[in-house]
Symmetry: C2
Subunit: 146 residues, 2 copies
């Protein structure tokens, strides 16, 4: 089913499933997109500020997208992000961690005219201990029926 | 060589190498992290707002990280991002596009005390036509010598 701006109300929320990041997946992402020693080499990581191997923050962001897509809040309309505000990496994510996402609509922006509005959704990504590892506000384009 | 907050001045800049996103890499990223029809299925993509297959915006962000790491501005200190402000996806990225990044230091934040400051770096990601496809401000932690 297609979803429109007015199908949502400030305060609407969702909770995603969980996703466990494997060590191989973490290393593969870092090799492709964030080739730094504290993501790739256990010994170098021990000497870094992280005191051990960590996943790329961009992989945490990408997994957050996967979990948000799969939560299906926008159904067939799909998630067309126009931008992200105030993204913060608040705690390290380590290979083997299990992440899940909680999202909440915090604002609806309706243009004076035009067929697309913006839903602003606060996303918190948690690890298995309930620690928030990443927060952000996603701006998502949604159609307005003509 | 390790790099410290005061090794940088507002206005310092870098230009990255280029990176071409292959179709297979685009599909693999979307399958893992952004499984939506307009990233995965050419026919569905034709019917979407993008009018053709596009890469996940999170892959554009990840490639921007790769190019920034490889540009080497922070040398052995490494890039420890604490957060991103004002990330905007400004134009679609399609499989086969070649991206490059331009970065410029726009602000230095020095804590009243403490051994880490923040370098704020504006990043623009361009395609092969010189169109800005993504902009963001990266907040990067940098040590202050004691």
């Amino acid at each position: 089913m297609a979803r429109y701006l007015d199908d949502f109300t400030v305060g609407d929320s969702f909770e995603s499933a969980g996703y466990t990041i494997g060590l191989e997946e973490s290393l593969a992402f870092a090799r492709s997109y964030d080739p730094q020693p504290f993501h790739l080499d256990a010994e170098a990581a021990q000497r870094s500020v992280f005191r051990g191997l960590t996943c790329s923050g961009w992989q945490t962001a990408a997994i957050t997208m996967r979990l948000t897509v799969q939560a299906g809040m926008l159904e067939e309309t799909g998630i067309v992000g126009t931008g992200i505000d105030d993204l913060r990496w608040l705690a390290p994510v380590k290979p083997g961690d299990t992440l899940h996402v909680r999202g909440e609509v915090i604002e609806k922006l309706r243009p004076a005219n035009g067929r697309r509005g913006t839903l602003r959704v606060r996303l918190h990504t948690f690890n298995q201990d309930g620690t928030i590892v990443m927060s952000q506000i996603a701006n998502v384009a949604l159609p307005i029926p003509s």
